[in-house]
C-alpha cells in the first residue's frame, strides 16, 4: 500500500463534489482525490490530445464519473477511456443522479465496471461512496497487464 493510486472524480456539480469529498473524508480513504470538472478536463488528464501518453502523472485506481457533464458527457468519456489501450484497464464507476435505462445499458455496453445511482438519503449516499472507494481503490487489484505496462514505462 506504499504507492496508493489516486481516485479521479469527474463531477461538475459543486454540491455533489463537496458531498462526495465529504463522504470520502468520512470513509477515511487514504487515496488522493483528483478532481475534473467536466469531461474534457478528465480526458485531458488521462489522454492528452497532443503528446505522448502521460508518464509523469499518476494513473488513477478508479475513475468516478458523472453522466451529465459539460463539454463532453460521461458516456463519451467512458467510451474514450475504454477504447484506448492505455486507459482501458482503469476501472470506471458511473455515479449518476438518476437511473435511466438507456444510460445504464449503454454504459455496460461500453465496459463500465459499476453503475451507481446516487441515493437520495444521506446515509445511503455516504455508504455508497465508502463502499466504492474501498472496493475499487483498495481491494480491487488492477489487472496484471496494467502493472506490466506501468513497469515497462517507468
Amino acid at each position: 500500500m506504499a504507492e496508493l493510486k489516486p481516485i479521479l472524480l469527474v463531477e461538475d456539480n459543486p454540491k455533489d463534489l463537496e458531498l462526495t469529498l465529504a463522504a470520502f473524508e468520512e470513509a477515511q480513504l487514504a487515496n488522493d482525490i483528483l478532481v475534473a470538472r467536466d469531461g474534457a478536463e478528465a480526458l485531458d488528464y488521462l489522454l492528452p490530445a497532443d503528446g505522448p501518453p502521460p508518464t509523469g502523472i499518476k494513473r488513477p485506481a478508479v475513475i468516478i464519473l458523472d453522466i451529465k457533464l459539460p463539454k463532453i458527457d460521461g458516456i463519451e468519456v467512458l467510451q474514450r477511456i475504454k477504447s484506448d489501450p492505455n486507459t482501458r484497464q482503469i476501472p470506471v464507476v458511473m455515479l449518476t443522479s438518476s437511473q435511466e435505462e438507456k444510460d445504464l445499458v449503454r454504459s455496460y455496453h461500453l465496459g463500465v465496471n459499476a453503475f451507481v445511482v446516487k441515493p437520495v438519503g444521506f446515509k445511503e449516499f455516504f455508504d455508497a461512496i465508502r463502499d466504492l472507494g474501498s472496493f475499487w481503490a483498495i481491494l480491487n487489484e488492477p489487472p496484471p497487464g496494467s502493472h506490466r505496462l506501468r513497469d515497462v514505462r517507468s
Partner: protein
C-alpha cells in the same frame, strides 16, 4: 302467356315434355298444306295428307312427279321461279297461288336439302299485301320509336301489334336470367282476362322450345282444337323425320294445345324478341276464337318485334345510363354525409333511404367494429351478425351477392321475408366490417295488375296460368329479385369509396398516433429531466442537513433538532416521490420481455422477499394453485410485490390478518386477486386508487408515496389486461388484475 309446350304435368310427364322433339312433329296444322320437294327437279317426295285436295289430284299419283307438273298454268310458272331461288333457311313468301283447291299463300324454305312448300289458307277477310299494310306498320314503328321508356315501349308494342292483328289480347313477356317469365305489358279487350304481371316458371317454355323460338321468330296456332294433319310419303315409306323448325304450319305439342284450351284461347301467335342472340322475350297474342293471320300481317308483326329489340336496346342503354347517373347521385350524397359525420357509420345510417335506394334493397345493416346498425326491413341483429360471421368464415374478401341466402345458410329460410337476397360489401381490411343489403323473397315483391287469386278460365286444371304461377312460386321460393348489374356495380363503387374513407380515417388515426407517440416521448423526456434535475436538489438538501446534524448535534436544543429532522424528512420524502415518478415513467417505456410465468413460484418468491415487512406478525396466508400466464416476469413480479406489500401493510392493525391469493380463469383471460381483511377502503374512491400519487389514507396512518397501484395498473395494461379493486372500510380490500390467457401455441414454446 302461351308457351309452346307448358309442363304442368306431374314430374315424369314434365321431363317427357322437356324432351319432346317438337321440331319434328311429323304433322302440320290443318290451315294449309305442305309439299316436300327434292332435288333440282323438285320432285314431290312427301305431302300433308290433304294436299291432294289443293292440287286437284290424288296424292298417290302425285308422288315422284316434278312440281311443275303438279302446279300448272301462269301461277305454276311464277311459283316455279320462286321455288328455285329459296334461300338456305329463312322462309320466303312466293305470293298467292290459285290452285284447283282454292287460293293459297305460298311460303317456301329449305330443310335437310329439300325444299318445303307450304300453302297456307287465306284469311276469311282476304289476303292483304305488305304494301297495303304499310301505313299501319309505319304508324306502329313511329309509336315504338317515340316511346319514353321501357315500360312505355312495351305497352306501345302490345297496342300496335294488337291493332295490326286484331287479337283479343296481346302481351309482352320477358324472360329473366333463369328463364322464368313475367308478363310486363298487355293490351286487350274484355273477351280475355288480364295476365299482366303473371309469372311463369322456366319449365313452361323448355330449352328446346326456346331454341326453336330463337330460330323461327314467329309462330301461329289458328285453332287450338285442330286435328293434326300427318305428312305422308309415297307408299308410307319410312324416312328420317322431317325437321320443321322453319315451317309456318308446324304442328305443336298437344300439351301446349291443352294449355291453350284451358286458358280459354283458341288462336295464338307469338313473336320472338331477341336481344342479340339471346331470346329476350315474346310478344304473345291470343284470341278467344280461331283466328287466321295473313302472312303479310305476320311479317309486319315480326318487323315490329325487331323494332322493339332495337328500341329496347337504345332505351335500355339510355335507361341504364340514367340509372347509373341516379345511383352515382345517391352515392355522392351518401359519401358527403359520411365525410361530414363524426363517424362515417353515422353518415351511412342517417341517410337510410339513400342507403337502401343505392342498390334497391328493402333493408340494410352496417357492421363496423363492434357496432351493428339496422335500417329498413332486416332480420334481427343476432341473425345479421351471424350472416356477417358466415361471410367472414367463408372468406369473402370481396363483394358477395346472392339471390337466395338460404342456399348459403339454411337458417336463412326462416328470414326469407326480409333476407332472401343479400348483397354484402366488406368495408375494412382490418375488422370484419360489412355493409349488408337485404331483399325479401320475390313472391312478396310481386306486383299484380290483375287478380291472380281470381281464377282465370281453365283454372283447376293441371295446365293453366294459375298452375303456372304456383309452379313459378315454387321455383322462386327463397329467392329474391336478382340484383341488377348496375346495382352490384353501385355497391362495388360504394365499397371503394367507403374503404377510402375508412383508410383516410385510419391514416388520420395513425397520424394522431405518431403525434401521440411524439408527445409521449416528449413527456417521458420531460419527466426524466424533471426527475433528474429535481432529484439532485432534494439529495443535496438531505445531505447537507445530515452533515449539519452530524456536526452540530451537540449544540442544538430539542426544537432546533426537530426543525432539522423535519427538513431532512421532507427533503428525503420529496426525493422518494421523484424516484417513484421516475420509476413509473420508466415502466411505461421499458420494453416487455414476455415469457410464460409460473405464478405459484413468483408469489412464493415475493412472499419471501416481503417477509421482513410483516415483522413478527403472524399472517394467515391462503394461496391457491395459480395458473401459468405469459408476461414480463420482472414487471408481473412488481405487480404481485405491490399488491402483497399493500396487503401486509393494511392488515397490520388487525389482530388476525388474513391474506388470500387466488385466480379465476375465463375463456380469454386469467384474473388474479389478492384479498385482505385489513383497513379496506370506501368504494366511492375506488376509481382513484390506481392514480399516480393517490392516497386514501393519511400518511401518518400508512406510509408510502401512492404510486404502487399506479404501477400495477400501468404494468397490467401494458400486458393487455386490466386492474380493479373492491373494498369496504374496516372489512378489507381485494385487488384484481387480469392477464390475457396463455394460448396453446405459447404454452408449447
Amino acid at each position: 302467356m302461351i308457351p309452346s309446350s307448358p309442363s304442368h304435368l306431374p314430374a315424369p310427364d314434365l321431363s317427357a315434355c322437356a324432351r319432346e322433339p317438337i321440331h319434328i312433329p311429323g304433322s302440320i296444322q290443318p290451315h294449309g298444306h305442305m309439299l316436300v320437294l327434292e332435288g333440282d327437279g323438285l320432285h314431290l317426295v312427301r305431302a300433308s295428307a290433304q294436299a291432294g285436295e289443293a292440287l286437284g289430284i290424288g296424292l298417290d299419283g302425285a308422288f315422284g312427279r316434278p312440281v311443275e307438273s303438279l302446279v300448272t298454268g301462269a301461277a305454276g310458272a311464277e311459283l316455279l321461279q320462286g321455288l328455285k331461288r329459296v334461300p338456305a333457311r329463312e322462309p320466303v313468301q312466293l305470293g298467292i297461288v290459285h290452285l284447283p283447291g282454292g287460293g293459297f299463300q305460298a311460303i317456301a324454305h329449305r330443310s335437310d336439302g329439300r325444299t318445303i312448300l307450304e300453302l297456307e289458307d287465306l284469311p276469311a277477310e282476304g289476303a292483304r299485301s305488305l304494301e297495303a299494310l304499310y301505313p299501319q306498320l309505319r304508324q306502329g314503328i313511329d309509336q315504338l320509336q317515340s316511346a319514353l321508356n321501357l315500360d312505355d315501349l312495351m305497352t306501345r308494342t302490345a297496342v300496335e301489334v294488337r291493332r295490326l292483328t286484331g287479337f283479343d289480347r296481346v302481351m309482352v313477356y320477358r324472360f329473366d336470367e333463369t328463364w322464368n317469365g313475367t308478363v310486363i305489358a298487355e293490351d286487350r279487350n274484355e273477351r280475355l282476362p288480364s295476365y299482366l304481371d303473371l309469372r311463369f316458371p322456366a319449365s313452361d317454355i323448355p330449352a328446346q322450345a326456346r331454341r326453336l323460338y330463337a330460330l323461327n321468330r314467329l309462330r301461329l296456332i289458328v285453332d287450338a282444337r285442330y286435328r293434326p294433319v300427318p305428312i305422308l310419303a309415297r307408299g308410307g315409306e319410312g324416312d328420317a323425320p322431317l325437321d320443321l323448325s322453319y315451317s309456318v304450319l308446324r304442328s305443336v305439342s298437344p300439351v301446349h294445345l291443352e294449355y291453350m284450351r284451358n286458358m280459354g284461347t283458341a288462336a295464338s301467335m307469338s313473336i320472338s324478341v331477341m336481344d342479340g342472340d339471346r331470346l329476350w322475350g315474346l310478344i304473345s297474342c291470343h284470341h278467344a276464337d280461331p283466328r287466321q293471320v295473313s302472312f303479310a300481317v305476320r311479317t309486319a308483326c315480326d318487323l315490329l318485334g325487331q323494332v322493339l329489340s332495337i328500341q329496347m336496346a337504345a332505351l335500355d342503354r339510355g335507361g341504364e345510363a340514367e340509372r347509373r347517373i341516379r345511383l352515382k347521385g345517391i352515392e355522392a350524397r351518401l359519401l358527403a354525409h359520411m365525410a361530414a359525420a363524426e363517424h362515417f357509420v353515422d353518415g351511412l345510417i342517417d341517410d337510410s333511404d339513400d342507403l337502401l335506394e343505392l342498390v334497391g334493397a328493402e333493408g340494410a345493416a352496417v357492421l363496423f367494429e363492434d357496432g351493428c346498425h339496422l335500417v329498413g326491413r332486416t332480420p334481427a341483429e343476432g341473425v345479421v351478425r351471424r350472416i356477417a360471421r358466415r361471410l367472414v368464415e367463408a372468406g369473402h374478401q370481396d363483394l358477395f351477392v346472392t339471390d337466395s341466402l338460404a342456399s348459403l345458410m339454411p337458417e336463412a329460410e326462416k328470414h326469407k321475408d326480409t333476407a332472401s337476397g343479400l348483397l354484402a360489401i366488406p368495408i375494412s381490411q382490418l375488422h370484419p366490417s360489412y355493409v349488408l343489403w337485404f331483399r325479401p323473397e320475390v313472391i312478396q315483391t310481386v306486383k299484380w295488375g290483375g287478380d291472380p287469386h281470381k281464377p282465370a278460365a281453365g283454372s283447376g286444371s293441371r295446365l293453366s296460368p294459375r298452375t303456372s304461377f304456383e309452379t313459378w312460386k315454387e321455383t322462386v321460393r327463397l329467392q329474391a329479385l336478382p340484383w341488377r348489374a348496375s346495382e352490384i356495380e353501385a355497391a362495388r363503387d360504394f365499397r371503394n369509396a367507403i374503404v377510402g374513407i375508412v383508410l383516410r380515417k385510419a391514416e388520420e388515426m395513425a397520424a394522431l398516433n405518431i403525434e401521440l407517440q411524439r408527445s409521449n416521448s416528449e413527456l417521458a423526456a420531460f419527466s426524466y429531466s424533471v426527475s433528474h434535475d429535481l432529484r439532485a436538489p432534494f439529495r443535496h438538501v438531505t445531505s447537507y442537513a445530515e452533515l449539519l446534524r452530524a456536526r452540530a448535534a451537540g449544540k442544538l436544543d430539542a426544537r432546533e433538532q426537530h426543525y432539522l429532522n423535519t427538513i431532512i424528512d421532507a427533503a428525503s420524502s420529496a426525493g422518494h416521490l421523484v424516484d417513484g415518478l421516475l420509476h413509473f415513467s420508466q415502466l411505461g417505456r421499458a420494453s416487455l420481455a414476455v415469457v410464460p410465468i409460473d405464478m405459484n413460484k413468483l408469489v412464493a418468491e415475493v412472499r419471501r422477499l416481503l417477509a421482513p415487512e410483516a415483522g413478527d406478525r403472524s399472517i394467515q396466508w391462503s394461496v391457491a394453485e395459480l395458473p401459468e400466464v405469459s408476461g414480463d416476469p420482472t414487471m408481473i413480479r412488481l405487480v404481485m410485490q405491490n399488491l402483497l406489500s399493500n396487503a401486509i401493510k393494511y392488515t397490520r392493525n388487525r389482530p388476525d390478518p388474513v391474506i388470500e391469493v387466488g385466480s379465476r380463469t375465463a375463456p380469454d383471460v386469467v384474473e388474479f386477486f389478492v384479498r385482505d381483511n385489513g383497513t379496506g377502503f370506501d368504494m366511492a374512491y375506488a376509481h382513484k386508487l390506481f392514480g399516480v400519487f393517490q392516497r386514501l389514507h393519511r400518511e401518518e396512518e400508512f406510509e408510502g408515496i401512492g404510486i404502487g397501484l399506479a404501477n400495477v395498473r400501468r404494468i397490467v395494461e401494458r400486458h393487455g389486461g386490466s386492474a380493479r379493486a373492491e373494498g369496504q372500510p374496516g372489512k378489507g380490500a381485494a385487488f384484481f388484475f387480469s392477464l390475457p390467457r396463455l394460448s396453446a401455441a405459447q404454452s408449447q414454446r
